[in-house]
Symmetry: C2
Subunit: 355 residues, 2 copies
DNA sequence: CTGTTAGCGCTTTCAG
DNA sequence: CTGAAAGCGCTAACAG
């Protein structure tokens, strides 16, 4: 284990003081060309790498921003994380990630750990921690929260209007002539999920369609949940020609359930998702979905923390908007079946796409 | 910005010396119950959090292991990362992640950064850096490499036998009666991809089937590549009843291409992937794939670095094996079409699943 | 058991 | 422009 070499050794070899080396390294002051060269040389020869830990202690800042996400195995969070990475390029900060697996305790622990590491700023993606706690922490370290509106003047929150997104999805379905539209929900109690559901009901109402609770099934944002939700819906035997899923992963599960019952998308039922995760452009059929520009969101978050750290006010630019990406999982309801045939009763029927 | 409080303040409030507080915190020595209580109390009152940076500098170890991955937006890498997280639970180490986006330069930079942060150990997932460089770094910091066999006695490598996996996939297809088996490759020059391809050829040979280069198309491990590869294959107009894809993402793309040409999986062509990424159980149809137990691999990697750090020899247990997970994207070739009908010429034909 | 005293490696006044 | 010296916050001998 080759011993780590230090600034002091470099200084000695170059015949200067440690402060000079430090200054040269950080460009804080001009250093005589001659000495600079000598320093450069000994750095090479010794293969010196500054100890960031010591530097962090001395400077009082670590040049790191901590990113807390719920789950690493998730295209959704990944996109945002990637955005953060992108956004940090060009700034002098590095990101370190940690995930909390939806456990509130874990979140608290990770948060503490990040603070212990003295990150200069924090980005929390869809945190579950309550506003008050967040507010408290934000008083100690610059914090931006992504995916949720936090009621605190210390934390900078970046969130989309999920209602608007759901609106887009519903309008699309309605315009295609669908009247019996089922809904597969997200985890209850989460603002974004609630918002989507509320909009689903409102949209129905605005279109003069009675809300039917039997057309909604609970989901949990993951494939398995979508699968069982759709199975439940189908088992109830009520007719519906389209389904709006609270997120893409649920939609995948729903599509598989449909497939298992020999029902075809979009011929038998149209499905629209939410998130427009990378995979959605490649599933069969490609999924119509509400795109959340997560990458961009991540980038904005990165810029915001850096601004916060620098004591600037984060630019409150016009945020990227949610938009509907129409693909092949939705189609207009054919006139003859506008009377809403029952998907359930058509199981195993032969209504195939006319070739 | 509430000022960060220090050990010293805690000590003062508790009326003891800093070392006593430190000892109590780390459990290095017994501390009188009375004082311990006082310390505990002032910690509470001041809401003290140890400064891990200072601690790291003083101890000479940071209790962190760095994890370098190629891409954060990838179910493949995610699984392994998650495994590392899991494997670290119970140990006193935290993981910090960084991704390098397949850029060799980025890799070097990140590696340097991790070393600068004085991580106690390093896990590199599918690094592109050459063996010699890896070997050099490994002499300074405990290192385990996942996904590749590194020729160095300093680095501990953990890799699967991709040849075996490919073997499994091919045997499955062959047993199902397929003779004309196409292949969609991975990025050239990468050991794992090369290994899979080689095995594809060998398996064909062993089965007495002539290798036909026109049945292989280049891919790049991502959906788009799989899509164009399959399109190319179809355009060549040669008959094939099955396709082996170098990884799952390619398979998704291939399945979409098939869908676009009105070809059905597995009725018209069977497809098998490699990796068995989480989503594969939920695509339509669920994909038959060679499972790489990445999660477990990540866990093992975590245990290995910890062992290495502690100066122990990492346990070389029997590693989890690759296995074939048979789902619904493959099926036996019906006898009558055993003479290998041309998928291409059947495009838009009506051969649908008999209902 | 506990206080005192040195550092860990680097930055940053403070004087030249 | 540059050296000396004083920390950053915590741990780890070293003496009680």
């Amino acid at each position: 284990m080759a011993s780590k070499i230090t600034l002091e050794e470099v200084a000695r070899l170059a015949g200067v003081s440690t402060s000079t080396v430090s200054r040269h390294l950080n460009g804080t002051h001009f250093v005589a060309d001659e000495k600079a060269a000598a320093i450069e040389q000994s750095i090479q020869r010794l293969n010196y790498r500054p100890n960031l830990v010591a530097r962090g202690l001395a400077r009082g800042r670590t040049l790191t921003v901590g990113v807390l996400t719920q789950e690493i195995v998730s295209s959704f969070f990944n996109e945002a994380m990637r955005g953060v990475e992108d956004g940090l390029i060009g700034h002098e900060y590095d990101a370190i990630f940690a995930s909390t697996h939806w456990e509130r305790d874990d979140e608290a622990k990770r948060l503490a750990s990040m603070e212990g590491r003295r990150v200069d700023g924090l980005i929390l993606i869809h945190p579950g921690i309550d506003d008050a706690t967040l507010d408290r922490h934000a008083q100690t370290v610059p914090m931006v929260v992504v995916g949720r509106q936090v009621n605190s003047r210390f934390v900078h929150s970046l969130a989309f209007d999920h209602g608007l997104g759901a609106q887009l999805a519903m309008e699309h379905l309605l315009e295609l002539g669908h009247r019996r539209i089922a809904y597969i929900g997200g985890p209850t109690g989460r603002a974004d999920a609630d918002q989507r559901f509320t909009t689903y009901r409102h949209a129905l109402q605005s279109a003069g369609i009675a809300f039917d609770p039997r057309l909604v099934a609970p989901g949990n944002y993951v494939e398995a949940g979508g699968l069982s939700a759709m199975t439940l819906l189908l088992d109830r035997g009520l007719p519906f020609s389209a389904v709006f899923c609270a997120n893409d992963d649920s939609a995948y599960g729903a599509m598989l359930a449909l497939h298992r019952r020999q029902l075809r998308v979009p011929d038998d039922v149209s499905v629209v998702g939410f998130d427009d995760v990378a995979h959605s452009a490649y599933c069969v059929p490609p999924l119509t979905s509400v795109k959340q520009p997560l990458r961009e969101l991540g980038r904005e978050a990165a810029n915001a923390v850096v601004a916060l750290i620098d004591g600037r006010k984060p630019p409150r630019g016009p945020m990227a908007r949610l938009e509907l990406v129409v693909r092949e999982s939705t189609r207009a309801l054919p006139m003859q079946s506008a009377k809403a045939t029952s998907a359930a009763t058509r199981q195993k029927a032969t209504s195939r796409r006319s070739t």
